[in-house]
């Protein structure tokens, strides 16, 4: 009798210990997670808070955590003196151009490689996959020479042309289309639907979430692109946000003063569309990259 009781007590105590241990683990986890989050968030916080400070305030020997008084005119200055309105326009046109073209060529290409049937289909697909191995950081030299010869320096066409087709987009969509049963496509064919109808009425709606995710990634990549715009659009006329921002320091340098408050305002303005998209479509954007990891 006594023996059984001690066994139960021992078990109770073990449970209590386990629970206490779990609680400690949880507290440690919370502390670490909050610390990491604060550290990661800090640069963004600092960017926003600095963007509202005056020049005197950012030069104070002891930095202020929060602006003493707000100076939203930094943002106006970015548009007035920094020509950000033009950069914005250029970036939007470039991004939309790339996006539309990659979606159209991507969807049709993916259809051809998944639901189509023609001789040499596999060879053609390997051709597309092979292109994934050839980085633009290598091919930009001949492409630049070509585009410059065609008179495309500082034009929208020049900005967009080398990104008209994305092998990555084709590949991702092809994998998704392939997972859809052929019977849907066959049934649609029997009903007299053409290829465009099959894509817009059957495949695209069924693969909505992948389509959406890949499109968001494409938009972000277009908006944030830097390497090619730097090469092809060197003049003010077709400069995009990413380049304009990096050059903001030089633009204002005439005064020879520290203008990080204005540069921070420019940085906020440049990332605003993508960050807003991120918080609206968080679900899709968080899975966007991990989907690629799943193969």
């Amino acid at each position: 009798m006594a023996k059984a009781k001690t066994a139960r007590e021992a078990r109770l105590e073990r449970d209590r210990n386990a629970r206490r241990k779990k609680k400690i683990v949880m507290i440690v986890q919370y502390v670490l997670a909050v610390t990491v989050t604060v550290i990661i968030l800090f640069p963004l916080y600092w960017m926003i808070s600095s963007s509202f400070k005056s020049q005197e305030e950012i030069l104070l020997p002891i930095p202020t955590l929060w602006p003493k008084e707000f100076h939203p005119e930094n943002y106006i200055s970015v548009f007035r003196r920094g020509n950000f309105a033009k950069y914005y326009y250029n970036t939007i046109v470039m991004t939309v151009g790339i996006l539309v073209s990659q979606i159209v060529t991507g969807i049709f290409g993916a259809y051809g490689f998944s639901k189509g049937a023609f001789k040499g289909q596999n060879a053609c697909f390997i051709f597309v996959l092979g292109a994934l191995m050839i980085p633009s950081q290598v091919t930009f030299i001949p492409i630049y020479i070509m585009c410059a010869n065609w008179g495309l320096s500082d034009t929208f066409l020049g900005l967009i042309l080398p990104s008209l087709v994305s092998p990555y987009y084709i590949f991702m969509l092809r994998q998704t289309f392939k997972a859809i049963d052929d019977s849907y496509v066959d049934a649609a064919k029997v009903d007299g639907l053409g290829r465009v109808g099959i894509i817009t009425k059957i495949l695209a709606p069924m693969c909505r979430s992948t389509l959406f995710t890949v499109t968001l990634v494409t938009f972000t990549n277009g908006w944030n692109s830097y390497f090619w715009p730097k090469i092809i659009a060197k003049n003010e006329k077709r400069r995009v946000l990413t380049i304009g921002l990096a050059m903001l320091k030089n633009t204002f340098a005439g005064q020879g003063t520290m203008n990080n408050h204005e540069i921070m305002a420019g940085a906020v303005v440049a990332i605003l569309p993508v960050v807003i998209l991120f918080f609206i479509f968080q679900k899709y954007m968080l899975t966007g990259y991990s989907k690629a990891a799943m193969k």
């Binding site: 997670a33 640069p43 189509g116 049937a117 950081q137 030299i141 990413t242 990259y289 990891a293």
Partner: protein
């Protein structure tokens, strides 16, 4: 009598299917495969953008790169890129794994914190770079202010040889670590809890569970992250361009930056081409060898 169609319907259908992929194929020929061939041609010429004409010069550029005055820059870029790659791999893989373990809890607070940790991935590199330039500023930067609070001397983060690469890695690591975490977490969730229950019955400690179950089960994910991060960090350009411009004393002059500056600063298309081809071959070798290694050492769960 039945009219015979000019082209068989089946052939017609195949033609239409083929037409769907034609735009992509044409594009890839013109903007991916042709440039690679053109690159090889340029590497045998003296093409630069200052002179009107060019002529073939044989192996001159190749000799310049591998056994001439270009060699030291090639080796320097190799070294710098290797340092950067190791740094970014460590941050993404080890940092990402550590964060995945910390953030491995599923409630509202944690899901918000996870989103915050992931956000930098979507912050444009140029915005992030100017923010880090400001944070790491020698005279007015907050980091040096914090250093002064604990009695450390001010560091010229961007401008000195020893710390320029650290600055670049801080910037890219800030953007990459949440990505590593997300990829690891989504893989961790899919590990069957059976393994952990069995291990608990056998009295395995937390460390044992991590090293004997979690880590091996995550090896395909680790491989994926390793390969993609390896390849992308070899192509690093933008952070270096904005932060340091390859300096100081070429201490951050990575491969792509060097190719870029040969082509777009010196206008030496010939030298840039040779360097680009060397870089391309290096990438192919790296890819091939990682896949070879992976076939042996990765565990795939059914």
């Amino acid at each position: 009598m039945e009219k015979k169609p000019l082209i068989k319907p089946r052939t017609m259908s195949a033609v239409k299917d083929f037409v769907c992929v034609v735009p992509a194929l044409i594009f890839l020929v013109v903007f991916t495969y042709y440039p690679i061939c053109k690159l090889v041609q340029i590497s045998f010429t003296d093409w630069n953008l200052i002179n009107e004409t060019w002529k073939y010069v044989g192996l001159k550029n190749w000799i310049w790169l591998f056994n001439g005055s270009g060699t030291k820059y090639l080796l320097n870029s190799l070294k710098v890129t290797a340092i950067y790659t190791v740094g970014e791999l460590s941050i993404t893989l080890i940092g990402g794994m550590a964060l995945a373990l910390i953030f491995n809890r599923f409630n509202r607070a944690f899901s918000i914190m996870r989103a915050v940790v992931f956000v930098p991935k979507y912050v444009a590199m140029s915005s992030a770079a100017v923010v880090f330039l400001w944070i790491l500023d020698k005279e007015h930067g907050i980091v040096n202010y914090l250093f002064s609070l604990v009695g450390l001397p001010a560091v010229d983060w961007i401008g000195s040889r020893g710390t320029a690469m650290i600055s670049v890695l801080l910037l890219t690591g800030w953007r990459a670590v949440g990505y590593g975490m997300m990829i690891y977490l989504s893989a961790m969730i899919s590990i069957s809890s059976d393994y952990y229950e069995a291990a608990a019955l056998d009295g395995a400690s937390a460390a044992q569970r991590f090293f004997k179950i979690t880590l091996p089960m995550l090896s395909p994910t680790t491989l994926f992250l390793f390969v993609t991060t390896f390849l992308s960090s070899m192509k690093v350009f933008q952070s270096v361009d904005i932060l340091t411009g390859g300096g100081p004393y070429r201490s951050t002059e990575v491969f792509v930056y060097k190719i870029y500056s040969y082509a777009m600063v010196d206008f030496r298309m010939d030298r840039a081409s040779v360097m680009a081809i060397a870089f391309f071959i290096l990438l192919l070798v790296v890819t091939a060898s990682t896949f070879k290694v992976s076939n042996k050492n990765v565990h795939y769960d059914s």
